[in-house]
């Protein structure tokens, strides 16, 4: 019922619904687009463009699938359009790597922030305090190990150990709640 309400709201230019959908999906759509295009600025432009079009052309909006499916597929198509355009450019000055469009990618790989945030942050809070602090600095704030060493005045070895301890704990704690990622964000 809620899904239909949102679609109807978008269709009839309900600003509250629009803002809600934007806030709910924005960061997830950006992070997803980032797996296709590496530049954050471009990614944000693509997702924002999608929402502007969604509003302006709302009368013509027909969503047959789920809203989530519609938004993520649209972002994906826009990303590939962008890359194709870049490829035309590259004819003139450089050759760009073009990811495979048939890439393994199914709706199970699409997440929004709220879906991950709760389970992950709850698990991290369950770590021993020092371990939790170090892990957060490393994984959520993206600090390098050397920076943590400097900031906390502890040895590099301690940092590494705490992070691997945390991972060991989290893989057990998170596993039942996490969907499988086939995104290969990290591994080539």
């Amino acid at each position: 019922m809620e899904e239909e309400f949102l679609k109807q709201g978008l269709h009839s230019k309900n600003k509250i619904v629009f803002d809600f959908v934007f806030q709910y999906y924005y960061s997830g759509l950006c992070a997803y687009a980032e797996t296709i295009i590496k530049e954050e600025v471009v990614v944000e432009d693509i997702v924002q463009d999608l929402f502007v079009t969604l509003w302006i052309k709302s009368e013509q909006l027909i969503i047959t699938s789920s809203l989530k499916n519609y938004l993520f597929s649209s972002v994906k198509n826009r990303c590939f359009d962008y890359l194709k355009h870049q490829k035309v450019k590259s004819k003139f000055f450089q050759i760009l790597k073009f990811p495979d469009e048939s890439n393994e990618d199914s709706p199970e790989n699409w997440f929004v922030q709220s879906e991950l945030q709760e389970i992950i942050e709850k698990s991290i809070q369950n770590l021993p305090p020092r371990c939790c602090e170090i892990f957060k600095l490393s994984r959520l704030e993206g600090l390098k190990n050397q920076d943590i060493v400097k900031q906390l005045g502890i040895s590099k070895r301690t940092v590494e150990l705490q992070i691997s301890n945390a991972l060991k704990f989290l893989r057990k704690d998170l596993n039942p709640h996490l969907p499988m990622f086939v995104l290969s964000l990290l591994l080539k």
Binding site: A31, V52, F92, Q117, I120, L140
Partner: protein, 343 residues
């Protein structure tokens, strides 16, 4: 809790910072028994999930929403504008019918010939003009710009020789087209500069705001668009290589001349001299091989050529001498000649 050493390596493995030996160690361990593989894939899953969350958190949703709302507001006012246009068209229609009636009655039908008007700036001077459509152009030294006395109703065509900065009045229905020779620029409303000085084999286009398309050949719906550009981008077309190079640039450096400011940002001495020559209409020569490697950063506004040369002298081991100007047979004087020498 005792942790097995291999598991200790996993975070670094996922981060891609292990050396070859250690990486192989992890991979052998992973393939050894089923249990290890399970530990590995569970760890990867947790790691990726957290990485994914970190990426999401980087994005500032509130800021983005404000931006989107602003764009939506803009599109609304645009709509109102098109409605007003329609109203205006209805008002004009009766007038048009009357005009057509009298026009068709005139005995000799005229063939429309585009009459071109050319504006020029002499060497060493800069100027600004307003074109018939309200577009503002700044012309740099030794530049000419041709435009039809009346733009046709489909396009606004201009031809450029030299360097100019355009503030194009927006009109999506009548794109503004700058012909720079080999490369043409299509604009609907935007600020950018273009240069194609003869004898340099280089056409440069720098976009400040808005959006432009580069194309070749005649303007039509089927025109071959080479590329579109985004603000802050520079396109450099090299005629000899027949190639376009795109780069992100500090636009200020490329457009400051329109406000009478001469700006150098890590520019080679050769570039500095080339621009000084054009700016002051002089002839500076560089003597000494190492001179070409110097890079220079400075901003000048009201300085005279001599003041600039003196400042150059203070920041690089160079000296300069000014040659006497020669009186030519037609009683005019030759350009001022200056030689910059490596000390």
């Amino acid at each position: 809790m005792k942790i097995r050493p291999i598991e200790e390596l996993l975070p670094s493995y996922f981060n891609g910072v292990l050396n070859n030996d250690e990486r192989e160690k992890v991979e052998t361990w992973k393939e050894a028994i089923k249990e290890n593989r399970q530990i590995f894939s569970d760890s990867l899953k947790a790691w990726e999930g957290i990485e994914y969350l970190r990426r999401m958190k980087k994005y500032n949703t509130e800021k983005a929403l404000k931006k989107v709302n602003l764009r939506i507001e803009k599109s609304k006012s645009l709509k109102l504008f098109t409605i007003l246009q329609k109203v205006a068209a209805i008002l004009i229609l009766p007038l048009l019918v009357a005009t057509l009636y009298f026009a068709t009655k005139s005995p000799t039908p005229k063939i429309a010939v585009t009459e071109w008007h050319t504006i020029k700036t002499p060497a060493g001077l800069r100027s600004e003009y307003i074109l018939p459509d309200g577009t503002k152009v700044y012309l740099n030294s030794k530049t000419s710009l041709s435009y039809p006395i009346a733009f046709n109703s489909y396009t606004r065509n201009v031809k450029l020789n030299g360097e100019a900065y355009f503030e194009v009045v927006e009109n999506k229905k009548q794109p503004f087209i700058v012909n720079t020779g080999k490369i043409k620029v299509e604009v609907t409303g935007t600020e950018f500069k273009a240069s194609n000085y003869p004898g340099e084999d280089l056409t440069e286009i720098v976009l400040v705001s808005g959006k432009i398309n580069l194309f070749q050949g005649d303007y039509s719906k089927e025109k071959e668009i080479l590329s579109s550009m985004i603000p802050g981008e520079k396109a450099a077309f090299n005629e000899k290589e027949n190639k376009i190079y795109f780069s992100k640039v500090d636009v200020e450096k490329y457009i400051s001349w329109k406000d009478g400011i001469l700006m150098f940002r890590d520019d080679s001495m050769q570039d500095v001299v080339r621009r000084l020559n054009r700016w002051f209409n002089v002839d500076i020569k560089l003597t000494g091989n190492k001179l070409k490697d110097y890079v220079y950063t400075a901003t000048f506004q009201d300085e005279s050529l001599i003041q600039i040369l003196d400042l150059l002298k203070m920041s690089a081991p160079i000296d300069y001498s000014i040659k006497c100007r020669k009186r030519k047979s037609d009683n005019t004087f030759s350009k001022m000649k200056i030689e910059i020498i490596q000390k």
